[in-house]
Symmetry: C2
Subunit: 125 residues, 2 copies
DNA sequence: TAAGTATATTCCATTTTTTGCATATCGTGT
DNA sequence: ACACGATATGCAAAAAATGGAATATACTTA
């Protein structure tokens, strides 16, 4: 409880969720639509448990939503305005929307079976 | 140094500067134009030293700029896009742009001499 | 039901951030 | 030069974020 001048400011929680390179990278990967965890894991080259922690944080902040399909869990951005927010932020600091490593192919069975020839963009498996 | 997938992400620094109710309140007070420190001090009801620390942080982040006029220092938002960022953030989390306490009049001589009758908006003294 | 795969959670040590206090600095007027 | 008002900075204790390891849960398939 602080003086009435320093209000609760729910935006703070939103910004806190965004103060992390990994979490920003995750959101960027979700620009192309929902992605399964294994995809994110492969593209970012991070350990599963660690990635799951960050996903849980973003989920708790209400920024992403998950949907279970068979064996996999697909995540998507819950509020599309988030992308506008990230774009504005980049316009201010002059950053680039993350160069998703095209060489890192997703090892999940879904992607392997389909064998996409030109992974130009993040395709939903 | 992290794997190439987790890039430096300068946005993180921007968001970090925004993860604080006081700093958000300061930026909101600057919506109406530049304000002297004593103004912010009075409106927010915070100790001067503490406020100055937050201002220094925002300054270091390149979000605000200061200008010395006589005895006082006036701060203004360096990147107007910041307001768009804050607006988008509020659209996501559903917050209000801070109800600046109209009862708290600025005690600095500049404001007292002018004796503004209707402080409806943040006027630059 | 049992095993296997995909994803989540909990615990913990380390590092970073926060915040209040004391004090320093800078410009102004006398 | 001196004192004063306005603002800034350094420091230390408390609080929070970070990232790793082990482990738990939830489907699916056999």
């Amino acid at each position: 409880m602080q003086p009435p001048t320093t209000c609760a400011a729910p935006e703070v929680q939103l910004f806190k969720a965004l103060t992390h390179p990994t979490r920003l990278a995750i959101l960027d990967l979700l620009r192309g639509g929902e992605q399964c965890v294994c995809h994110l894991e492969a593209q970012l080259g991070l350990r599963q448990a660690y990635l799951s922690q960050q996903l849980a944080l973003l989920r708790a902040a209400g920024l992403i939503a998950d949907q279970r399909v068979g064996m996999n869990v697909y995540y998507r951005v819950a509020r599309p305005e988030l992308f506008a927010l990230l774009d504005t932020a980049r316009a201010i600091v002059g950053g680039s929307p993350l160069a998703a490593d095209p060489a890192a192919a997703c090892p999940c069975p879904k992607c392997i079976t389909i064998t996409l020839p030109h992974p130009e963009r993040n395709d939903p498996c």
